[in-house]
Subunit: 322 residues, 2 copies
DNA sequence: TTGTAGGCGTTATCAT
DNA sequence: ATGATAACGCCTACAA
């Protein structure tokens, strides 16, 4: 019995006699043999792993996207590793290096900065990479995104429809592309309605978290009543939930004293103190599509880079409807 | 210029003359060279990666645990891969196989079934493994957990203190160890207060999700008023939020018509329709401690298996205090 | 059916 | 300062 035979037991069991095979198998379990994936991969040249480098693993929006990716990965019999960059460029780049070195089949990423050079660099070096939740301007990469400018528009148009003429945009930092787009959309809708520019107030937060939303609520409450907005459009649901919570806790009412629109329509939005009006993105589909694109890029020689854009949709609930 | 020199540029740059070194480095970036981690690892025998196999990536409780793990992993300069078993034993086992084969430094896992043989098997085969959020009965493994029986007790004691004498336990399936423990704790507190056994009603759900919580709310509402509990203790916050939402949506009031206690104290608990009383677990610390234990097991030859148990703490809010 | 040999990319040792 | 070489574990073509 030789080395090659053992390998055959693993890879072409039919070529091995029953007796030899069972003998080998017994030995394996007894000795606790575990295939060395590094060696296999070194020989094979590629792995059966996808990775999703996510901006914030604790934001339910991204875990839903991840679930969509998993769905598609399962169909292609690939495993998914989730890597949390936690909004840090440094961490993000470290993960990208590691994943390339591991020769994963493909990388999905919601990047801190979609303009960063090293993203294109990854693809140039041969690892398929798809941008999730951001459009890529230059067309050197695949991307799957939702039209955030449009999302910002529909949110603010809804508030205008409800009669609000003094509105706050709550979110930040603006260096986050998603935030900037939503803000731009908000401004467009505002301008088109012919409302005075200074009646759309920007309340910048330093992160898109519940805690920052609460803080914004305090700042809002501190404004003189005359200048105080009667409605707020938040850059995501976490901020909106924080704002909602702070507003109610301080004795003001939603939507009577302050109407609130969120963004993402995470599951908790409808379970909030006051069910939250929000701009829904097709989260799972975003993930599924992105995964299909990496797989295509990894396996189809005729792959062409594709930019998919989904359309967001306003879901109106009590927080604006009273 | 030979192969060995190139390797030296990468690993001991000081042994290479400046001219050669820069020449090699230039070539590398031009050609888009990427180190092959498989080959490195094959030679080195081990990797700089930890993995956390999590039960449900979309439950904020687990993402907070993961954040704790990341914190500790960073300190040891290890990367963390998050793998979502999504409550499936099959997926869980597939991930475990893959990770062992990849020779990761260590595995952290919140298992579907902490009694499963293959968990011990992993450790026996040489990959350090720590159980997170479950105690391990036999002491062959490290584990970090919270005393869920105690958690169940304090939750129900709190409700008894508030004067409730007919309480529902909402959660399931009971095959989930955490659920069973919390239910046991609830029963103990109930018995010790001398209350009639059948006044502690069990409302079983098929999963610990918001949707299941809503469903339980409907069943609760359907009970005849005489027998209907005046309070509910939910096996986790997701269920509690669903129940809360359904209760309010159907026009009943919390806590007047129904008091609710959740479990985990996730961030959304305090932002809920009615701020949720919940049993807090030290989530980040759970993760941090677990990571420290795997690292110890991986690096310290004198490592001894340790079972760490944390104590939960009741956080009383409006959903029980009115 | 079973055994043998070469090579995947990297690193460390040893010799130049 | 640089170059040659063996070894890590696995897989596969080929030989016996």
């Amino acid at each position: 019995m030789s080395l090659g035979t053992v390998s055959n037991v693993l890879n072409r069991p039919d070529r091995v006699s029953d007796r030899t095979r069972s003998k080998v198998e017994r030995a394996m379990t007894e000795l606790g043999f575990v295939r060395n994936e590094s060696a296999r991969q070194l020989r094979a040249g590629q792995s059966r792993v996808l990775a999703y480098v996510v901006l914030d693993a604790s934001n339910p929006f991204f875990t839903d996207v991840a679930q969509g990716i998993e769905l598609a990965a399962d169909l292609s019999e690939l495993s998914l590793f989730i890597c949390n960059s936690n909004n840090s460029s440094t961490r993000e780049e470290a993960y990208l290096d590691l994943l390339q070195q591991q020769r994963v089949q493909g990388i999905l990423i919601t990047p801190v900065d979609p303009g960063a050079d090293f993203l294109n660099e990854v693809a140039r070096r041969g690892t398929p990479l798809v941008i999730v939740d951001r459009v890529q301007k230059d067309l050197a990469l695949c991307s799957v995104a939702v039209d955030d400018v449009l999302g910002g528009r529909v949110a603010v148009e809804h508030l205008i429809d409800r009669g609000h003429s003094r509105v706050a945009f709550v979110g930040g930092p603006l260096s986050i592309g998603q935030v900037e787009d939503r803000w731009r959309g908000a401004q467009q809708a505002w301008a088109e309605a012919g409302l005075p520019q200074d009646a759309l107030v920007q309340l910048t937060t330093s992160a898109l978290t519940v805690a920052e939303g609460r803080g914004a609520g305090e700042r809002l409450a501190g404004m003189p009543a005359r200048r105080r907005p009667t409605a707020a459009f938040c850059a995501n649901d976490l901020v909106a939930l924080g704002l909602l919570q702070q507003t109610i806790a301080s004795g003001r009412r939603v939507p009577d004293d302050l109407a609130i629109v969120g963004y993402d329509d995470i599951e908790f939005a409808s379970a909030a103190a006051v069910p939250l009006t929000s701009v829904r993105q097709p989260r799972q589909e975003l993930g599924r599509t992105a995964a299909e694109l990496v797989v295509d890029e990894a396996t189809n020689p005729d792959h062409t880079h594709t930019q998919v854009t989904f359309t967001p949709e306003l879901v109106a609930r009590t927080s604006t409807l009273g």
